[in-house]
């Protein structure tokens, strides 16, 4: 029973190991983005040459542009469609709602590769030229279910009389939606949009199957490079990690600062 005895060091060691496993690979990746040689394992001194190469490489910059623009546009459209769909569903008859929700969660549970092949077959069946547009369409389609799922719980908590109160006070249905319903479910919409963005930005499997015409996003580019990989990938990854870290810090720190401001104001 010695192991059960309260130890000061055990929790530190366990958590430390876990954090190490999470962050060591990323740390090594970042360090080697500044390596002066092509090697990914042997340190040869500090340089920023891979960053220069990254910004010079047309392939890389195009892939970044594709990833970012597909993620932004698909997030915008899927959030808009998903929000309206969720609001519609919350007002639907129970049978309709349950059937649609089952259908909605199918693509989420489905292995991605099945969805990917499905999209590919669909596009080739209708002889649609695969490329940027097909990738965008696929991303919109697979993001919508996540948006719906993140908004519905917020709608369930909504007082059903709120929309009626807005109509009662003279608001048209559209005004009631914009001025009353959307502000109430905004946290759900924001988290839905964030999920949609991440899903799109991350995606490899579906993108790989629905793209064509040389259109590549970051994941596809990295995959095709993996045989002759070079530290520009490290440089790109480092920039992404930096952006995400800054975003996370802002998301967490800004509300705290706002709260403090409010408290001191009162």
């Amino acid at each position: 029973m010695v192991g059960i005895k309260k130890s000061r060091w055990l929790p530190v060691v366990v958590v430390g190991t876990i954090l190490l496993f999470f962050y060591l690979p990323i740390l090594i990746l970042m360090i080697f983005s500044f390596n002066d040689s092509r090697s990914l394992t042997v340190w040869a001194g500090f340089s920023t040459q891979w960053y220069t190469q990254l910004f010079r490489s047309r392939d890389m910059m195009e892939a970044v542009m594709t990833s970012v623009s597909v993620a932004l546009i698909s997030t915008l459209i899927s959030t808009f469609v998903g929000t309206l769909a969720a609001i519609g569903l919350s007002k639907s008859r129970k049978v309709v709602k349950e059937v649609v929700l089952q259908v909605n969660s199918l693509p989420i549970l489905n292995p991605e590769i099945v969805t990917a092949i499905g999209f590919m077959l669909l596009f080739s069946a209708f002889t649609i030229q695969r490329g940027y547009t097909t990738m965008l369409l696929a991303h919109i389609a697979f993001s919508i279910p996540y948006v719906i799922l993140s908004i519905l719980p917020k709608l369930r908590l909504l007082d059903p009389n709120l929309a009626e109160a807005a109509l009662d006070l003279g608001a048209t249905p559209w005004q009631a939606l914009i001025k009353v319903i959307v502000p109430q479910i905004l946290p759900g919409i924001v988290s839905g949009a964030l999920i949609a963005f991440t899903m799109s930005f991350d995606d490899f499997v579906i993108s790989y199957f629905v793209t064509g015409n040389g259109v590549k996003n970051i994941s596809i580019l990295v995959y095709t490079m993996s045989r002759r990989i070079n530290p520009t990938i490290n440089a790109l990854s480092t920039i992404l990690v930096a952006i995400i870290t800054i975003a996370l810090v802002l998301i967490n720190v800004l509300p705290m600062m706002k709260k403090k401001e409010k408290v001191s104001y009162e």
Binding site: E164, L167, L169, G170
Partner: protein, 347 residues
């Protein structure tokens, strides 16, 4: 007074259940009308039809001589105070009240004036920029009333607005609502299941049960002259007996014949009879019109509630004098205390 609202033979069918079975009702300008009935009687359904949130299956709703069934809620000159207030949680008190005026694109200057006036009317001066989620139930109630009234509607609908408040606050708000109604001088249509609330505030009470109007009248009419067994039972406590109307002014029940003030029934018609507990008096055995044994006596504050077992039934008596249990007593009442009702139209 001008007829403002007319319900003409309103029928509402929810998936095969008839919730309203042909409602005919006129509501005048400036009236405080209460729709009173047990839950499920259709009172809220009728209110929602008037507000525009439901459409009737059959019948017409006339507002100021115009049929409004197809007019959407946002175009009706009617505002509603909802059961759970339905204040907009993301806006403060001022913005909640200003909502309707901003939709109508009035200037911020006028909005400020009107909202300030409303806050004064409902006694919430200085609460402009409080968050509505931090207000007490009574204060939220007042904001909801102000938010509706600031639009200067011709009719204000109130759907059991005091249901969530405690007894003391409810009594205060009853008086206040009546005061506000007199001050703004518009029609209030109030839905409740609380008979005391209805008697306190209304000019006119409409008693509903199972989708049908049971009686329309002033609070005194409804209390003193209930038209049938349901109304008598629902409004206040009553002793309801069955009897036979022998002739005008003569009624027979519990093996005895009594003098009464009712007339116009068929000879030997079977009728329901109401005697209010406060109209019965306990007297010495030989002076009673009916006799019985005291079963129980409960102290209720203002009066004692005494139950006396007579030959045929238990009678409830409200009196300020106590009686001993098991004592043999007489019950006395005057001819005008007997209220005879036709069985027709009873439930």
């Amino acid at each position: 007074m001008r007829k403002l609202i007319q319900f003409k033979n309103i029928v509402k069918d929810f998936d095969g259940t008839l919730v309203l079975k042909g409602i005919n009702l006129d509501i005048y300008e400036n009236e405080f009308v209460t729709l009173l009935g047990p839950s499920g009687c259709g009172k809220t359904t009728l209110l929602r039809i008037l507000g525009g949130f439901l459409e009737q299956t059959q019948g017409e709703v006339m507002f100021d001589q115009i049929e409004i069934s197809k007019v959407p809620p946002y175009k009706r000159e009617i505002n509603t105070v909802f059961q759970r207030y339905a204040l907009f949680p993301h806006m403060d008190v001022f913005d909640n009240i200003a909502f309707g005026l901003r939709i109508k694109k009035q200037s911020e200057e006028i909005i400020k004036q009107k909202v300030t006036k409303m806050l004064k009317l409902v006694g919430l001066e200085g609460y402009d920029h409080r968050a509505v989620t931090l207000l007490s139930g009574g204060q939220q109630q007042r904001v909801a009333i102000a938010r509706a009234l600031v639009n200067e509607p011709m009719v204000l609908l109130l759907d059991e607005p005091l249901g969530a408040l405690d007894l003391k606050l409810r009594k205060e708000m009853q008086l206040e609502l009546k005061k506000i109604q007199k001050e703004v001088g518009i029609t209030f249509i109030y839905v409740t299941h609380d008979q005391e609330e209805a008697l306190t505030m209304s000019d006119k009470i409409v008693v509903l049960n199972e989708g049908e109007i049971q009686q329309i009248g002033t609070p005194t009419d409804i209390y003193n002259e209930p038209e049938n067994r349901f109304v008598a039972d629902f409004i206040g406590e009553s002793n309801i007996l069955e009897g036979i109307m022998i002739d005008d002014y003569r009624v027979y029940f519990d093996d005895k014949e009594f003098e009464c003030v009712d007339y116009g029934f068929n000879d030997n018609e079977e009728v329901d009879i109401v005697i209010r507990p406060e109209d019965l008096d306990i007297v010495p055995l030989d002076m009673g019109k009916l006799t019985g044994t005291v079963v129980s006596s409960l102290f209720k504050g203002v009066h004692y509630e005494i139950v006396v077992k007579t030959q045929d039934r238990h009678m409830i008596i409200h009196t300020t004098d106590d009686a001993t249990v098991d004592q043999e007593v007489g019950l006395h009442f005057f001819p005008e205390d007997i209220h005879v009702m036709s069985k027709l139209g009873a439930y």
